[in-house]
């Protein structure tokens, strides 16, 4: 039976690991991710996770290498990290997507050093956008739990076979408890039937993995990676639909909030979407019709879905909780590139290093969009 509990994001992730019958979990501590591994370690010590091999290694680089090794044997593998940790892992991430291993990893986002800080923004997560992983960015703790389970279904699909990176925001998700429904174990196990991984290290069926290719072949495999991503978006939609059928919660790759007849829209991702949504409600109650387009899926980039969500809106803002110094917001440039030229697309950068952005700030963003009717680049300071 499913049950409801007050869980923070880290605990929700740990629950998902348990429910997904993960077999192998190499880990390394880093704030604000550590509680995931602590929770699992305690369960393991209490004998609640008999089928999980749990191991703490000596660095994130080794963790992700071990995760690849483990996944290559065909065991369902999970790991989690954060901030500097994912930066240290970076070298291995393209190797995992390139060898087409269905690993699932959670990133608990935290701003990058220097200056060193503990609070979240999305630069660590978005720095991995070219690594070839499927990337989700969650808004709630429930979504974290649900997405991890769905991620295995997506990753292990024979047409996809790509690793999945799931982001939650440090502190805001990781340390804040909200009500989370924990689905029934039997139902999840049935939803996530494990099939045998074809490419694996098995002495009974020897194969060479991670071998070299010459210049004729390399581009073929890279194009394969890309086409698998393009295919994955349909698989993701399908899995999300199935999730609704089984567990009653509906997710979309691009979530539209109050977009019907909206005169202005804000594109956003992560936990700050919740604040932005209440700003939308406030404005709607005053007769100002604005909406939110929340990006849940970052890679493969849902260009078509973004275009269709924003088709009728001309005043568009993109809120970036990240910065590509010398360019601006990362989402801004990506969203703008997939929209038609006749729209006013403005950039708003804020929340770096966890600086709070209030409902008032978001209301001001919408009001500015409606008033100025031109392209702007602004910071929420």
């Amino acid at each position: 039976m499913s049950k409801k509990e007050l869980l923070d994001g880290n605990q929700a992730a740990a629950w998902a690991v348990k429910l997904a019958n993960v077999q192998s979990f190499p880990c390394f501590p880093i704030t604000p991710q550590t509680e995931i591994i602590e929770t699992i370690a305690k369960w393991k010590a209490d004998g609640k996770l008999k089928n999980l091999v749990f191991n703490e290694l000596e660095s994130e680089h080794s963790v992700i290498s071990a995760a690849l090794g483990s996944q290559m044997t065909g065991a369902r593998t999970f790991t989690a990290t954060s901030s500097q940790g994912i930066m240290l892992m970076h070298e291995i991430l393209p190797i995992i997507s390139g060898t087409r291993m269905p690993l699932v990893m959670v990133n608990v986002s935290r701003a990058l050093s220097a200056p060193i800080t503990l609070w979240p923004d999305h630069n660590d997560f978005l720095a991995m956008r070219d690594a070839g992983w499927i990337m989700f960015c969650c808004e709630t703790n429930q979504e974290v739990l649900d997405t991890i389970i769905m991620a295995y279904k997506i990753a292990e699909n024979k047409k996809v076979m790509l690793p999945v990176l799931i982001n939650m925001d440090g502190f805001i998700h990781s340390y804040t408890r909200t009500e989370v429904e924990i689905p029934d174990q039997k139902k999840v196990s049935k939803f996530l039937m494990k099939t045998k991984q074809k490419n694996r290290l098995d002495v009974k069926k020897p194969m060479t993995l991670g071998g070299a290719v010459l210049e004729e072949e390399y581009i073929k495999y890279r194009s394969q990676l890309h086409s698998a991503h393009l295919e994955a978006i349909n698989v993701i939609k399908n899995v999300q639909k199935k999730w609704k059928d089984k567990f009653k919660r509906r997710y979309y790759v691009v979530e539209e909030y109050g977009m019907k007849n909206a005169k202005a829209a804000l594109v956003i991702m992560g936990s700050y979407s919740t604040i932005a949504k209440s700003a939308v409600d406030n404005l709607k109650s005053k007769g100002i019709n604005v909406g939110i387009v929340r990006l849940r899926l970052i890679r493969p980039f849902p260009s078509d879905e973004i275009r269709s969500a924003l088709g009728h809106v001309n005043e568009i803002g993109v809120f970036d909780q990240n910065l590509s110094p010398g360019l601006g917001g990362i989402l801004y440039s990506e969203v703008k590139a997939c929209l038609k030229k006749n729209k006013n697309v403005s950039s708003f950068i804020g929340g770096l290093g966890g600086k709070p952005v209030s409902e008032k700030d978001f209301e001001e963003i919408f009001k500015t969009l409606l008033r100025e009717k031109k392209e702007m680049r602004k910071w929420v300071m």
Partner: protein
């Protein structure tokens, strides 16, 4: 096909070495390459139930799509993470309950072991994982064109330590004593070996597999182009290095016993260095100095001490 029981019996002569080839020819390795020869011996010693982990280097380029010489599962990840990839494989096998009868072997170069991969190796050993880590040691970053690594012997000419007018010696640093380091780190078995002594190497591998814990073997692999030697002379040069006492063959078991597995003839160091281009710039005075250090070291060993210098 059921799991074949691992044959880990120790051998006395080369006639007992299995004839089955688990590495086949046709690789991009140089003619006379001792690293691929070492791979061949490794798999002969351990047999089919072996998963081999490679780190970036010459041996990575043995498997170029669509060709692979390996008849066992083989994986390349990156250069610094051979040990951690193996740890992960062990985790996966444990989860699938297949770890009991499978050898996991890392076959990594000296650059990937002494230098960039030392942290992962140390972690693997400290976690007491049943993995055999072999460092095929040619004393240089061979694949990138023979740059100095932490395993490069004192005095050697590499492309980053060339002798010149101001610096006549070549490499001025000594090697890390990695075998001792791994023993102190907690390895169940650590040893040196040389491709020139295949029976010794195969026995050491089998002891390593039987040790039940992390095992480290530093395998001397003369490098044809890197050392500037004749194609046919690889293991001959290795033999001379062993016989001169510069590359002692020994093992340190879990109890900490230092055991010499081969008594060298103590031929002059000069003789061992003679046919290697990388030592040609050294004058007789410098070679005498090296000889002196080797002699003192062996005096200590004769009195029951353990090998402490890694001068060669």
């Amino acid at each position: 096909m059921g799991n074949v029981k691992n044959n880990l019996k120790e051998i006395k002569t080369i006639k007992e070495i299995p004839e089955e080839e688990l590495v086949t020819g046709g690789t991009f390795a140089c003619g006379g390459c001792n690293a691929i020869y070492g791979t061949r011996l490794t798999l002969k010693a351990l047999g089919k139930n072996t998963i081999m982990v490679n780190t970036s280097g010459c041996m990575t380029l043995t498997a170029i799509y669509p060709f692979t010489p390996y008849k066992v599962p083989w994986v390349h990840n990156a250069i610094e993470n051979g040990a951690s990839t193996a740890s992960g494989i062990l985790m996966g096998l444990k989860a699938l309950k297949k770890d009991k009868n499978t050898n996991i072997v890392v076959y990594a170069g000296d650059g990937a072991t002494y230098d960039i991969g030392l942290q992962a190796l140390s972690g693997m050993v400290s976690r007491n994982e049943k993995i055999i880590y072999i460092c095929y040691n040619n004393g240089t970053f061979g694949n990138t064109g023979f740059q100095k690594s932490a395993a490069t012997p004192y005095g050697a000419n590499t492309t980053t330590t060339p002798p010149g007018k101001k610096s006549e010696i070549g490499n001025i640093f000594k090697r890390k004593n990695i075998v001792k380091m791994m023993h102190i780190n907690g390895a169940a078995y650590s040893a040196t070996a040389s491709t020139s002594h295949p029976v010794d190497y195969i026995n050491k591998l089998r002891r390593a597999a039987k040790s039940g814990g992390p095992a480290f073997i530093d395998l001397l692999c003369p490098c044809i182009p890197g050392w500037g030697i004749e194609e046919s002379q690889g293991s001959r040069i290795g033999e001379k290095l062993v016989e001169s006492g510069m590359w002692p063959l020994y093992e340190i078991n879990k109890k900490g016993e230092f055991i010499l597995t081969h008594k060298p003839k103590m031929i002059p160091v000069k003789e061992a260095m003679k046919n290697q281009k990388r030592f040609q710039h050294l004058d007789s005075k410098q070679i005498k100095e090296i000889q002196k250090i080797i002699n003192t070291e062996w005096e200590k060993i004769k009195k029951g001490g353990i090998w402490t210098t890694e001068f060669y």
